[in-house]
Symmetry: D2
Subunit: 102 residues, 4 copies
């Protein structure tokens, strides 16, 4: 089992031990990603990057983890291969933003 | 190199070929995660989960990928181990939400 | 009719001429506020405030308008008095953050 | 003084009594609108509109107020006329989404 599959398995175990899957429809998972992303952003509110990292580095770590956890849950729910969707998006971005040759 | 390290390497290569690292301070990366999370959410606006998946499944895939790409970029920028921060957050959540034993 | 009531009337007219009220449940209106707020934020992505205002001032105006339009729609849907909820929130904030006397 | 000007005056007074204007650059105000919009959205997480209103109606009121407070602050900071930007956006939307005549 790959590293990412392993992580998704840990996340889904956590969810299933609490019987939470019933609430986890894709729309509410997408809502949850936005909420966690905003909680991460809150660590940077009224601050420069440096000030934020100095004041909130522990919480920044946890909020990024929350964004990742919900994103991986949504991938699992929709049967998406994490590596594949990232590589395909990078490929698309490469076409959209070609490297300028001098 | 692990699967996640490999993904981060692909992402950072994409960024560095375009000389974009200069813009990628942690605060703007956190902003970018919020923006992409909202673009994902837009696929579900005025729709049920089922309607959204039917109408927008291709775009949903791309927007989740964008959230993951910026989140992994921020992990890389802050020298965070993705697997570790997820496992630590799950551990913290386990303590916060103990499984109810019947 | 007060200025704000007049604005809400214009907004609701726009909606009703298009028969959109059927989609405008409070949850999707809250989702829409988040989406518009992120579109506003996008005007500031990778930029200082000054750079953003120079590059995107026209769009910034429109995105703030969109945030306000959906927020007023939600107030109208929930029968909330805009002036009252703002004054009550300011009162609560005054208690939470008392002015420091020298 | 109009109703909205009066509200903005109350909001700015609250800010100035606490000497907070120094932090309130447009980029951080835009960030703050996104954060408050997500806190509003949190009241609807894992819930239908009806369940959310039943469980969280008091907090929903406060979070809409926070979105409005920061949006009005940003209008004031950028010298935007609230009524004018809303009417102009509605006009633009009317052109973008013409009413279908039967």
């Amino acid at each position: 089992m790959s590293e990412i599959e392993q992580l998704i398995k840990s996340i889904n175990n956590f969810r299933d031990e609490r019987n939470w899957r019933q609430y986890h429809n894709p729309k509410d998972l997408a809502i949850s990603i936005s909420i966690e992303a905003a909680e991460l952003l809150e660590d940077f509110q009224w601050k420069s990057s440096e000030e934020a990292l100095k004041a909130n580095s522990e919480n920044i770590k946890e909020e990024i983890a929350d964004v990742l956890i919900y994103s991986l849950m949504l991938c699992s729910e929709l049967d998406l291969d994490v590596e594949q969707i990232i590589q395909e998006k990078l490929e698309k971005n490469r076409e959209k933003y070609p490297v300028r040759k001098e």
